[in-house]
């Protein structure tokens, strides 16, 4: 009985069903500031959930809690059926979590392609010794990383700039690079914090396609974004956070009409 086993492991019953990613009662405070308080959300496999809310609502903090970049004060995080609350961030990445940060910096000493190859870390194994001595299998692995990175760049439309030093990328392309790097991780759950900020409408349209395709490949995505037009075109479901708590949850069209959301976030004359 899986439920029984779960009880024995101390996992609340509600968490055991096959959600891809789930938080229960997650709270995080920075000193006196409660950034996230008692948030429980549950994301289905292969879905794309948008997280929206006013500035400072706690969206980025919630993603950071899931990705393990900041320890939670209380609550649990479960991904792919595994309780990962106490795991380190890099261990979480190994089991399929990938994150695009709100502010990313590329590694300036590497070119764009190599930056994306960094994303291949979780599924490759060349360590220090192999890196120094370069046995044949290392070459093979390097080639496969190159190929994967190239593919990710093609997907986001940055392949044309793959040999450009990453330090010279303009803001918009930096976002694309971050998305490509996350994709190169071959994640099962993708956390995206404003991945299309600073892109024009045409460039956003391309990413709408990318994310929609990923959904078809059963990839679970949680995405933070302020561009409601973009949200409307990709989201299966929208969760609205305000002051650290969930104030609305549902399909995009429904949430748009929610009074509290309009008041706190959208404003009356949303463009």
């Amino acid at each position: 009985m899986p439920a029984e086993a779960a009880v024995r492991r101390g996992v609340p019953q509600a968490l055991t069903a096959a959600a891809a990613c789930e938080t229960s009662g997650v709270s995080k405070a920075f000193g006196a500031v409660a950034a996230v308080s008692d948030v429980s959300v549950r994301v289905e496999r292969g879905s794309l959930t948008c997280l929206i809310g006013p500035n400072g609502a706690g969206k980025s903090t919630l993603l950071a809690c899931i990705a393990g970049l900041t320890p939670v004060d209380s609550g649990r995080v479960v991904v792919n059926g595994e309780d990962i609350t106490t795991w380190t961030a890099h261990r979480r990445a190994k089991v399929g979590l990938a994150t695009v940060f709100q502010t990313t910096r590329a590694v300036p000493s590497l070119d764009v392609l190599e930056n994306v190859m960094v994303g291949c870390h979780p599924w490759t194994r060349t360590g220090f010794v192999a890196g120094m001595l370069r046995p044949p299998w290392q070459w093979r692995e390097e080639r496969s990383m190159r190929a994967a990175a190239h593919e990710a760049l093609e997907l986001v439309g940055l392949a044309g700039r793959k040999y450009v030093p990453a330090g010279s990328l303009p803001l918009g392309q930096l976002r694309l690079l971050a998305v490509a790097r996350a994709l190169a991780q071959r994640p099962s759950v993708l956390l995206l914090d404003e991945p299309v900020a600073g892109l024009r409408a045409g460039e956003k349209a391309r990413l709408v396609e990318v994310f929609t395709n990923l959904k078809r490949q059963r990839l679970t995505q949680v995405l933070v974004e302020h561009d409601m037009q973009f949200v409307g075109s990709v989201a299966d479901r929208v969760i609205v956070l305000d002051r650290g708590g969930v104030i609305a949850d549902g399909p995009p069209a429904e949430v748009r009409k929610d009074e509290r959301v309009v008041e706190a976030y959208l404003g009356s004359s949303s463009l």
């Binding site: 380190t88 590329a106 000493s109 190599e114 870390h121």
Partner: protein
């Protein structure tokens, strides 16, 4: 093409000492040994973003390890029995191992510290090692150090003078190849990611602490190896050769050579040591440009000229000599009409 160039340079570097005079040889040998340390430091600082102001401490540990193992660890045995220690070759091999082990142990707490905290912690580590050398004098010989009489012999051939320098530079070549490979590999890219943001690196699946520690240990091992050989460069180890200034000097070397390129370590080390040597020769003269030099002239000149050149280099080439040369060459090629 690139590989033949490197191999050619390595062969040249190992052949050169046999052509040098006694006076130049010492300088050249020292350049090789210090370069080994600088390579480790440039990996730490230039690629992983970890500032170490205590690389000299690992050099010190390597040197004392090989010296003490060679003469015998037990201070009482040492006095009575000239054969108390182990084979020098073995001692040189053990030196980097011991150094790496110590680095692995202290690295765990130290590398939790970041930025200036780490810089200070490594500096403190060196200061602690230095003062222990004086305090534990029965064991280390205190200020008068340890004189090693046994020569370093491999297959009946004594490794000293030109052969010693050749060995040092051969190791430099090996270390350079390994390091250049490393930085262009998965692990190297991971380290460079760590330098930019440890959090972002962790989010990408890089075990930050482990990787930092491994690199720290590797850099320490290089310094320990250099130190182990250094013992047989002078057949003597004493604390005055390993003052805190040495650690600072290594930082100057990698900064002047240029971070972000392992070959910068070679350029920086050679440049700094050569400059130091030339300035010292200058100061030893009795007169300069027809002026009789006063008694303090050697110190004044060596401090002053060295200081001025440091200032000038970093003002005009803030990223270091090697990047400046590379950029210059690139610009020249662009300007040259025949490339169009």
């Amino acid at each position: 093409m690139r590989l033949t160039l490197i191999a050619g340079a390595a062969v040249f570097a190992c052949w050169l000492p046999f052509q040098l005079s006694q006076g130049q040889l010492g300088l050249y040998d020292r350049m090789g040994l210090y370069t080994l340390v600088a390579i480790g430091l440039t990996l730490l600082m230039g690629f992983a973003g970890q500032v170490s102001l205590g690389q000299g401490a690992f050099f010190l540990i390597g040197a004392y390890t090989s010296a003490l193992l060679t003469v015998g660890l037990d201070p009482d045995d040492r006095l009575l029995d000239p054969d108390a220690g182990i084979d020098p070759v073995l001692a040189v091999v053990v030196a980097p191992v011991v150094t790496a082990a110590i680095a692995a142990v202290i690295g765990v707490p130290l590398l939790r510290l970041r930025g200036h905290y780490l810089a200070f912690a490594t500096l403190a580590f060196h200061l602690i090692m230095s003062s222990l050398l004086f305090a534990q004098d029965r064991f280390t010989g205190g200020q008068y150090g340890v004189t090693v009489t046994k020569p370093l012999e491999v297959g009946g051939r004594t490794i000293n003078g030109a052969t010693h320098a050749a060995v040092a530079w051969a190791l430099v070549a090996v270390a350079l190849v390994l390091s250049a490979n490393l930085v262009r590999s998965r692990a190297g890219r991971a380290l460079q990611t760590i330098a930019v943001s440890e959090l972002a690196a962790a989010g990408t699946g890089i075990p930050v602490a482990t990787f930092k520690l491994r690199l720290f240990v590797f850099a320490a091992a290089l310094a320990g190896l250099a130190g182990g050989l250094f013992t047989f460069y002078t057949q003597f180890v004493g604390p005055e050769d390993f003052g805190i200034v040495l650690s600072l000097q290594f930082v100057l070397m990698v900064a002047v050579g240029g971070l972000g390129n392992v070959y910068g370590a070679v350029v920086g080390t050679v440049a700094i040591l050569y400059l130091e040597h030339e300035v010292r020769e200058l100061g030893t003269r009795e007169s300069l440009l027809g002026w009789d030099l006063p008694a303090q002239a050697p110190s004044v000149l060596s401090l002053g000229i060295f200081g001025l050149i440091l200032i000038a280099v970093m003002l005009f080439f803030p990223r270091g000599l090697l990047p400046a040369v590379v950029d210059g060459a690139r610009a020249a090629r662009r300007r040259a009409p025949w490339t169009k």
